[in-house]
């Protein structure tokens, strides 16, 4: 493996481009120069911190530290999935359902990859586990928040149709099935489109990263294919868990719709 290490001076030169953007904002009166600078500084600080954390983690290679990091990632992803939703479930369900689905899906898929395909030694080797989890988590989060957004929106707008079925003697799963289908279709669409476009429209970051790191392109491509499959599996599993959980929460044991368990629409 060979790669060209970057010096701080190299980064500073690349950073000039952000300054150019700042100048553009000033010259054209876009008014985003402040936010641009803050965002750039945040990016630098956050990534440096992550770099330090990962370096320490890889050095330690302990199961406990790796598990704690993975859990923290899942919890952050859960918060992000909730923040993206327009209408949330009330109370702890909102955060709990998103996070639990994510934990289930990302956990199962990542462990599956580590124990049957990559098989690093030890199997939880953070150098493999953490990047893999990160990629699966990012996409699963999108799927879960999309699925829940579609479901909660449709339950509110389609209430009359669902209740008509319930009133005719359908149970809650029969009555909600069309909504479940639509929510899951919407949740999986980005994965389907992503797989179809990969390689033609976009070169995935992880693959290009490996190529820059000196890995032969065909080997990098193999990794990317595996990651895409893992992402597809994680998104399907996570979105299904979240949407079915949402149906369970938005109906009750007497097969009634419970819109009172949705938070009021935000401003």
């Amino acid at each position: 493996m060979s790669y060209i290490p970057l010096s701080l001076a190299d980064l500073a030169i690349a950073g000039l481009l952000v300054l150019v953007n700042g100048g553009l904002s000033l010259a054209l009166g876009l008014g985003i120069e402040r936010r641009l600078m803050i965002a750039a500084i945040r990016m630098v600080v956050q990534l440096l911190l992550v770099g330090l954390v990962l370096q320490a983690l890889f050095g330690a290679a302990s199961l406990a530290a790796t598990a704690a990091t993975a859990l923290a990632m899942v919890l952050f992803a859960g918060r992000e999935a909730v923040a993206r939703q327009e209408r949330r479930l009330s109370g702890w369900w909102s955060y709990g359902l998103g996070t639990a689905s994510m934990l289930l899906a990302a956990g199962v898929v990542t462990t599956f990859a580590l124990t049957t395909q990559l098989r690093p030694d030890p199997w939880y080797d953070p150098r493999y586990a953490i990047p893999l989890l990160g990629m699966v988590l990012g996409n699963t989060m999108t799927g879960i928040s999309l699925g829940l957004t579609i479901l909660t929106g449709d339950v509110s707008s389609g209430r009359a149709g669902i209740e008509a079925r319930l009133a005719l003697g359908a149970d809650r799963y029969q009555a909600m099935l069309p909504l479940v289908r639509k929510a899951l279709r919407g949740a999986l669409m980005p994965v389907v489109n992503g797989m179809a476009a990969t390689g033609l429209v976009s070169l995935p970051g992880m693959m290009t990263g490996q190529i820059l790191g000196g890995v032969a392109p065909v080997e990098a491509v193999k990794y990317q294919i595996m990651v895409m499959f893992l992402i597809a599996g994680g998104t399907g599993l996570g979105a299904t868990a979240a949407v079915l959980g949402g149906v369970f929460r938005l109906t009750d044991h007497r097969h009634r719709i419970r819109l009172d368990r949705l938070e009021a629409r935000r401003g």
Binding site: A164, L166, P178
Partner: protein
């Protein structure tokens, strides 16, 4: 047939009501007084407290879908879940006699629900409910969007159902209609249910 004992829910004080097969209890009262809430509580579409039973069997002793198949609620603005009219019926050809009784053309089955008029949709929803042969029908202003002819068709069809033993609880704003169809009348005002003299 239908026994309601101290049933209450948010917006509705506890009330009692016994309805025998073949009866038609008309529910009157100002808008927003809780008439729809009353029907929804009986159908178990909203949480409620109290005892409701059908032919001696407690509501809670059976699954909610089984209850609603026998005590069927027909909303004032009926809901639809598929594109075409016929998809909302378990057996569209078998519903043909009902459709014709309600002065609707049979070709309406192939139409999208979205192009049907409000009055057509109201009658289709009634037909949809009747094909399930419920024992009790909870009607929320079933003729509000109908002209004289169609209203008469609905009333005569429901009179036949009643003669065959079905019990009706019928919310109506139309005093003349109430006089025509009611065997009893209850009034809902401010969430209080009171049984009234017929014609009173």
């Amino acid at each position: 047939m239908l026994k309601i004992h101290d049933l209450s829910r948010a917006g509705l004080a506890p009330f009692r009501l016994d309805v025998a097969g073949g009866e038609c209890v008309v529910v009157t009262g100002p808008s927003g007084a809780g008439k729809s809430l009353l029907l929804r509580a009986i159908a178990d579409l909203d949480p409620s407290v109290g005892q409701v039973s059908l032919d001696g069997i407690e509501r809670e002793a059976m699954a909610a879908p089984a209850w609603r198949a026998q005590v069927c609620y027909l909303a004032a603005e009926p809901g639809w879940w598929a594109d075409s009219v016929a998809e909302h019926f378990t057996d569209w050809p078998a519903a043909a006699p009902l459709i014709e009784r309600l002065s609707l053309p049979l070709e309406i089955g192939a139409k999208p629900v979205a192009v049907c008029s409000t009055g057509e949709r109201q009658r289709l929803a009634l037909a949809r409910a009747l094909t399930r042969q419920p024992k009790v029908l909870l009607l929320d202003e079933p003729t509000s969007a109908l002209d004289g002819g169609a209203r008469a068709a609905v009333e005569s069809l429901l009179a036949e159902c009643r003669a065959a033993g079905m019990a009706l609880i019928w919310v109506s704003h139309d005093a003349d209609q109430a006089r025509r169809v009611a065997t009893r009348r209850i009034e809902v005002a401010d969430g209080q249910v009171t049984e009234m003299e017929l014609g009173g």
